[in-house]
């Protein structure tokens, strides 16, 4: 990912893409994101502390690796194939944050699910689970940034 734009600008761009669509078509776009979630790098697959990367707030198994290397955000994820909604949303979050300076990533504080206009298509109950992932990334970044 060599997107030089700060996450806030990236979010505006992807939100504009979603805004052009009807709520049901937005789900098609979300599915496209799900299908392009990059596979987990081989070195993370065998990681012994895999369980530590599982997001407890989330329904189907979701594993997220959130790291700050040289001040920049590194993200990797693995999501069960039977949870394409989660997969699509994780894929968007990776696009939003990967490679960005951590301060810029932390500056993005809007609710990504509602910013993308997905609330209507997904409903309130599903939105909470997705939001939990955004919070998870944010909390991990904040903790690592504080330790730098």
């Amino acid at each position: 990912m060599n997107d030089a734009r700060p996450p806030i600008e990236r979010l505006e761009a992807v939100a504009a893409e979603f805004a052009e669509l009807e709520p049901r078509e937005r789900l098609e776009l979300l599915l496209e994101f799900a299908e392009k979630l990059p596979p987990l790098p081989a070195e993370l697959k065998d990681e012994a502390d895999r369980a530590a990367h599982r997001i407890a707030e989330c329904q189907t198994p979701v594993f997220l690796w959130v790291d700050v290397v040289d001040g920049r955000v590194h993200l990797a994820a693995e999501v069960a194939p039977e949870a394409p909604t989660v997969k699509g949303f994780v894929s968007i979050l990776i696009d939003l944050f990967s490679g960005a300076p951590v301060e810029q990533a932390l500056a993005l504080d809007s609710n990504v699910v509602s910013r993308l206009g997905l609330l209507e298509a997904l409903g309130m109950m599903r939105m909470r689970g997705l939001q939990a992932m955004q919070f998870y990334i944010r909390n991990r970044l904040r903790a690592q940034n504080a330790n730098r």
Binding site: L31, T60, P84, E120, A121, A132
Partner: protein
Amino acid sequence: MPHPYAHPEVLVSTAWVDEHKGDPNVRIVESDEDVLLYQQGHVPGAVRIDWHTDLQDQLKRDYIDKHAFAALCASKGIGPDTVVVFYGDKSNWWACYAFWTFKLYGHAECRIMNGGRKRWELDGRPWSRDPEPTYPATPYPERDPDHGVRAFRDEVLRHCRAGKPLVDVRSPGEYTGELLHMPDYPQEGALRGGHIPGATSIPWSRATNEDGTFKPAGDLEKLYLKEQGLKRRAPTIAYCRIGERSSHTWFVLKYLLGFQNVRNYDGSWTEWGNAVGMPVARGSQPGSVAPKTQPQ
């Protein structure tokens, strides 16, 4: 020879669905937890009904009313005599929820495809990625809801005080009060943890096999009747957190085991655990509401 379910006709196999997918008297309906699964691949010819965005009123906490229900059926090409077959992800958890909602509005011919998406996949049957098909709109009668399948809070309170059977189908941690929500699911807000006094803990998934199908009648009888002491003739109420998992158990008790009077309390723990003054029991024992007037 294994003995049959009480109402075996409500379950159909993936083979039956495959054969009837073009039958104009049959409408196949997918209902999932994950809203993208239908798009990723569905049973050819199936329409989609979402438990949340289609079946729930988006303003107040309730199901859609009879007008909206009739309009929904009409728009999916479902007439009053259509055989509606539900299937979905997670052992048909949401399919049972949609089935229950159709029964609430008195739809006669409802079926569950045993095993849902998982069994369809395991059986190597085809998936379609076509957009949702449209069928000619069918007039659908508006019927008042059948409250014989639905229990409201005050009725549950009377039921509880009378010591009648209640089944709590949530996870053990939610039952005892250690957890305020399902393990691994987002917090969905209950201010108190525990269960309705007197309720028996039987997690819903104990009725299912690994492949998403229902356990055989003998196993279900052993679990619900022998082990947990429920009775087919006793009026019984099932609940969970928002009435989704308990609609699965409601289906098992009513159609597979033949309970005569079983209702789903859809207000469930998110209502009970937030309402003021409701009796609550904590821990692994059912407990009771009987006030302790004399020291034992």
